[in-house]
Symmetry: C2
Subunit: 430 residues, 2 copies
Amino acid sequence: MMRTRPLKVALLGCGVVGSEVARIMTTHADDLAARIGAPVELAGVAVRRPSKVREGIDPSLITTDATALVKRGDIDVVVEVIGGIEPARTLITTAFEYGASVVSANKALLAQDGAALHAAAEANDKDLYYEAAVAGAIPLIRPLRESLAGDKVNRVLGIVNGTTNFILDKMDSTGAGYQEALDEATALGYAEADPTADIEGFDAAAKAAILAGIAFHTRVRLDDVYREGMTEVTAADFASAKNMGCTIKLLAICERAEDGASVTARVHPAMIPLTHPLASVRGAYNAVFVESDASGQLMFYGPGAGGSPTASAVLGDLVAVCRNRLSGATGPGESAYAALTVSPMGDVVTRYHISLDVADKPGVLAQVATVFAEHGVSIDTVRQQGKDGEASLVVVTHRASDAALTGTVEALRKLDTVRGVASIMRVEGE
Amino acid sequence: MMRTRPLKVALLGCGVVGSEVARIMTTHADDLAARIGAPVELAGVAVRRPSKVREGIDPSLITTDATALVKRGDIDVVVEVIGGIEPARTLITTAFEYGASVVSANKALLAQDGAALHAAAEANDKDLYYEAAVAGAIPLIRPLRESLAGDKVNRVLGIVNGTTNFILDKMDSTGAGYQEALDEATALGYAEADPTADIEGFDAAAKAAILAGIAFHTRVRLDDVYREGMTEVTAADFASAKNMGCTIKLLAICERAEDGASVTARVHPAMIPLTHPLASVRGAYNAVFVESDASGQLMFYGPGAGGSPTASAVLGDLVAVCRNRLSGATGPGESAYAALTVSPMGDVVTRYHISLDVADKPGVLAQVATVFAEHGVSIDTVRQQGKDGEASLVVVTHRASDAALTGTVEALRKLDTVRGVASIMRVEGE
């Protein structure tokens, strides 16, 4: 039974993702209509540069007045692919007030203001869907908030930024330094002209906030996420990782504490064993591990960015939201009932790989080991390498809190025999 | 806003999966209530052996009369984890008639009678969900029918049977023969006393039918799926695979033909390159690759069987179905609008690895090559190995239709110089 009055879609933004959404809406119109139960019609496209030629889009649909578009009153679904905080935020809340549901790919906005946006959606009895905000085409939001709704998620561990994974993979496979690998990523279009959001971990942190919020049914904001970029990862770190049978990835890690009452969310480079499935995620691909009580370990893998994959996620949401509209229902909204404490980084418990430059004389190892013991950090292995009065000491710890490790490192720096702390890297995925 | 009248759930079957569903419904009652918006109550459990002690289940809920339970009229959701065709089929259709929605884990029934069951659900305006029927805890049905609803799926390629993957992995890693590996799988509980459904590919074929139907929006029945078990895979095949940089997996493959107008579904052992992500899926794990127009290659990985993982999938569906009931809506039903032709195996196009025992004399290779050429099957590589008047010839072809390959092999068998066709194996994942 096909309804003939079309559902009207307003597209905000017509860049790499938006133009692909518009294209697929046109080329796959029949399929979308069959899957939704009614045709969908592109009712308007808000852009910044109206003069740009946009193949396949009726020029009469183009407008620079996004506000007027969302206020038209006859729009069923607003697709927001502008990105950034404003004007996206105001446009989305206005859309709800004027009767539309919203599909967004805006991770920064969701991570910062997810709760307020969900509240606005709920107040107006509308849907807010955002599969495309995390890990591009990989179905992740929906599996977490629907498929695993009957399970208890304990950990989400993932590679959620393709740019940094491309750079780290390049460093690992060719021995290139960070700058060289970044230059190649830029030349190939994997890194933006200003790569800060990627390499400093802001992009991954926004995704971690969204994932943690859904996984733990708890509000987790961007500010709650500990963040460390990957600009200080060196070729020497990769050599150390190799010695341990590991590689280095920039990971987003959302964990429930062992007592179950608190959670943490963090983004930082970490060593993971080569045998871990995340170790073999190459190039700009993304992959996310989800560990839960009943289902054990699940992994979701695919292209984490790009116009087409992101458009696929947007359109999957569009179909769901349109179906909801036809049946007069709404999908799952914010689920924050658990309201767990989001603990600071100091409470995170993990393993550490620490490289020290030390004086090459007897008793140094004993001194260093004493400092670890005094801070309650148990040592797993130590490797010494010395030449010409200089030596390096590589310590791998058992699981310890970040606070204990930080205290240990501060005390180590005060030892006369420790010339410097060459690197500290967390070890995950075991 | 929590509704206080509970939703009533009838559980049909209380074996490995059912008892785990009941357990989680009890231990996670508060979480489920918060996620659904109303409490869920176990209203009855139909079993075959009422005398068995079932820890944590109120004995007054136990009944042997499943029919009376689904006919009670106050049941909101029937969870069917009995398996098999009857009485499961009649119980499910009765449940719809008496006003319940249904969550099922029954792959055999869905593959055989999915269309009729969907029709019964639709006629009564009820939900039929079955995430647990394919690949255990791995969210796959929902991503395919919802997340990728705006995309065009071209291929689904997966390891969907844990028992056979355990056996093949064991043969690959230890050099064991088939029987030895099967014995170990049985001893460890990975294979059932009668392993026919697994090793002959019936289980995987049922899953392939379900996946193909959803992926291509076309009815695909179990009978439409070409099926070849893995009992004839030998240690010699693994040695040949290794020579090619491959391993052997039992794959379920659902493909859209290049012209887009027809699809195929098949289950058989195949060589795949060691570099393919499916090659590293170990033990009893499952993994499914999905290739689509916009999203590219996605992979879903996790435990494919077992009580807890399957229960996780059942409960995810239960939450969705309960939410739908509260909002008075239903989720996506059968989507078969595309109604593509399901082509026979002869139309499948792939590559082949063929081992021939031949006479060790001049001219044999020329004869063999002529037969391939006459049937339009192009040869990629040939390797000859001879000793004591006997020789083996290993031919790897370019892509050719199954019909052309079958014709080639028939003609080869008629050559005087070909003593036997030692093995034919498809090569996939390139």
